[in-house]
């Protein structure tokens, strides 16, 4: 069963966070990814650029609207995703509680519905 960890946290600039804290977070992320990988639980992970770099598409009356900025302008933003393949929700919760961003934000665990294998949609079971 695939679960995606959606990592939400307040956005801050590198200056606000500080080089030391960033380095520490990078080390934590590196070790977390390595642990997930060696446990055979990791499908893929991606930390996103700040939501200021986001571009949002929408159809309004059939017309394409391209907008700068994120889908929703909230204090906490989607900062990254990690896709896991584990037996059940308890296993996903166990991994999520070890995720570094839990120290500075919230982690949403969403079971996948379908995913692609070689370009073909496959149910998540």
């Amino acid at each position: 069963m695939r679960y995606t960890l959606l990592m939400h946290y307040p956005e801050a600039t590198e200056e606000q966070i500080g080089a030391e804290v960033i380095e520490e977070a990078q080390r934590a992320f590196a070790s977390y990814a390595a642990t997930l990988q060696s446990a055979g639980a990791l499908v893929g992970a991606e930390v996103l650029q700040p939501s200021a770099s986001s571009t949002t598409l929408r159809l309004a009356d059939g017309e394409l609207q391209v907008q700068d900025g994120p889908f929703a302008d909230t204090k906490e933003q989607l900062g990254g995703t990690i896709v896991l393949d584990v037996p059940d929700l308890d296993a996903a919760i166990d991994w999520a509680r070890q995720a570094p961003p839990l120290q500075w934000g919230a982690i949403e665990i969403r079971p996948g519905s379908v995913y692609t294998v070689d370009g073909v949609w496959t149910p998540n079971t």
Binding site: D88, L89, D90, S113, W121
Partner: protein
């Protein structure tokens, strides 16, 4: 299967017995492989219906539980294989039929893998109710729906009965239950008993939800839920075997049940009698002994007593009046102080003040009462009224009784408080 020929009413009785004894066991077993509780319940109720007609003609099978399980499993398989079910799988619209078929095979495989002998040996039917209780009180399930879920899937109550007990419109309760079951299936909450490492964090919500069943048991419309809460608590403790707080909860619920007057019939509303005015001769000695035994089992394990053990011990002190003829207020004070230390609550503080009032006099009790809670708390006003009454401050006591009566949601309690008030004014 051996069968003795029976008339339809006997078939009803046999089906009902099987239902009462094994509903939760069968639902747990049927739902465990896939987490689909709604389907398990549908399949089981279909099997019960089939039993009523088949058993009336062919006789009750030697192993009714095994029969129901087999029939229910066949119904589950029929649903999994049906085009309607497969069309609801996310992918079928876009279309690779093999993957959907594979999914069905995997489910059937999962079922087969836990079921090699159940149909052959009735005594090999495993009990997965403990797993089911942990599912119902899983942290990913809304706390408000955990107790209703237990009542329905473990004890087999209809959504409408659960709704009545919680004073919620039936449609709203049904909706909540459906959502919770869908969530259990879709997020794949595992049917598993947490390992020792996780137990400390996973057990409290299960105890809390069973306690919730106990707490609503005496509410109007709850019917005979008190006995069911006790059954659930004792089942939980027995299945866990070595969890002191589970035995503590079993003791608490059993001792409370022992003090309830003979099971209240529906629409029968006996007047409320406060604990210290109750006649201990009306209490159930067998249940008291049973509760004390559970409390003993709880204290067999090392470590300081938890919240439920302390609450059970408080009940045990009250019940002991049946033997000794007097209430040991000092023991109660010790227990309430300990309870306030590990699980502080307004209720415990108010009870402690009442006990202090009995030992050191009403003025000391009033002094021990916490500050007036902002949102009206009925026990605070009832205790204050009683302490003022004992202190001879009739005017203030009458006012406090009126306030407590206003806040009481139980009619019998309200009548009792108003009677006290009238007695004050009369004297």
């Amino acid at each position: 299967m051996d069968a003795e020929h029976v008339s339809p009413p006997d078939a009803w009785a046999a089906a009902e017995r099987a239902a009462r004894a094994s509903y939760g066991r069968l639902v747990a077993l049927l739902a465990a492989p896939t987490g689909d509780l709604a389907l398990a319940e549908d399949a089981l109720s279909g099997a019960f219906e089939q039993a009523l007609t088949t058993w009336a003609d062919a006789g009750v099978p030697a192993n009714p539980e095994g029969w129901l399980l087999t029939v229910a499993r066949n119904r589950q398989r029929d649903v999994w294989k049906s085009p309607a079910h497969r069309a609801t799988r996310p992918l079928d619209a876009g279309g690779d039929d093999h993957t959907a078929a594979d999914a069905v095979d995997r489910r059937l495989g999962a079922v087969a893998s836990i079921d090699p002998i159940a149909d052959v040996d009735p005594f090999a039917i495993p009990d997965k109710r403990l797993e089911l209780l942990f599912v119902c009180a899983h942290p990913a399930i809304d706390p408000a729906v955990r107790t209703p879920l237990m009542l329905q899937v473990v004890l087999g109550f209809e959504a409408s009965q659960v709704a009545a007990a919680f004073a919620v419109p039936p449609a709203a309760m049904a909706q909540r239950l459906v959502r919770a079951k869908r969530r259990i299936r879709d997020t794949r909450i595992p049917f598993a008993v947490p390992d020792r490492r996780a137990m400390a964090e996973r057990l409290p919500p299960v105890l809390e939800a069973v306690y919730g069943c106990h707490a609503i048991a005496w509410r109007e419309g709850a019917g005979s839920l008190a006995g069911e809460a006790q059954y659930l608590a004792v089942t939980l403790a027995a299945l866990l075997e070595r969890e002191p707080e589970a035995w503590g909860l079993a003791a608490l619920v059993t001792l409370s049940l022992a003090r309830q007057p003979a099971i209240r019939a529906r629409n029968d509303r006996p007047p409320f009698v406060p604990l210290d005015e109750q006649d201990p001769a009306t209490w159930d000695a067998a249940l008291i002994a049973e509760g004390e035994e559970y409390l003993r089992r709880a204290s067999e394990h090392a470590g300081p007593p938890g919240r439920f053990q302390l609450e059970a011990a408080i009940q045990a002190v009250h019940c002991d009046r049946r033997r000794s003829g007097a209430t040991d207020w000092r023991a109660l004070r010790t227990l309430y102080l300990a309870l306030d230390g590990i699980a502080p609550s307004l209720g415990a503080r108010v009870a402690l003040a009442a006990v202090t009032g009995r030992i050191d006099g009403p003025d000391a009790g009033l002094a021990a009462l916490p500050p007036e809670p902002a949102d009206g708390f009925q026990p605070w006003w009832a205790t204050r009224a009683d302490l003022l009454d004992r202190a001879g401050r009739s005017g203030e006591a009458a006012e406090a009784y009126a306030r407590a009566a206003d806040l009481a949601d139980d009619v019998a309690v309200r009548d009792h408080l108003l009677a006290r008030r009238r007695r004050l004014e009369g004297g």
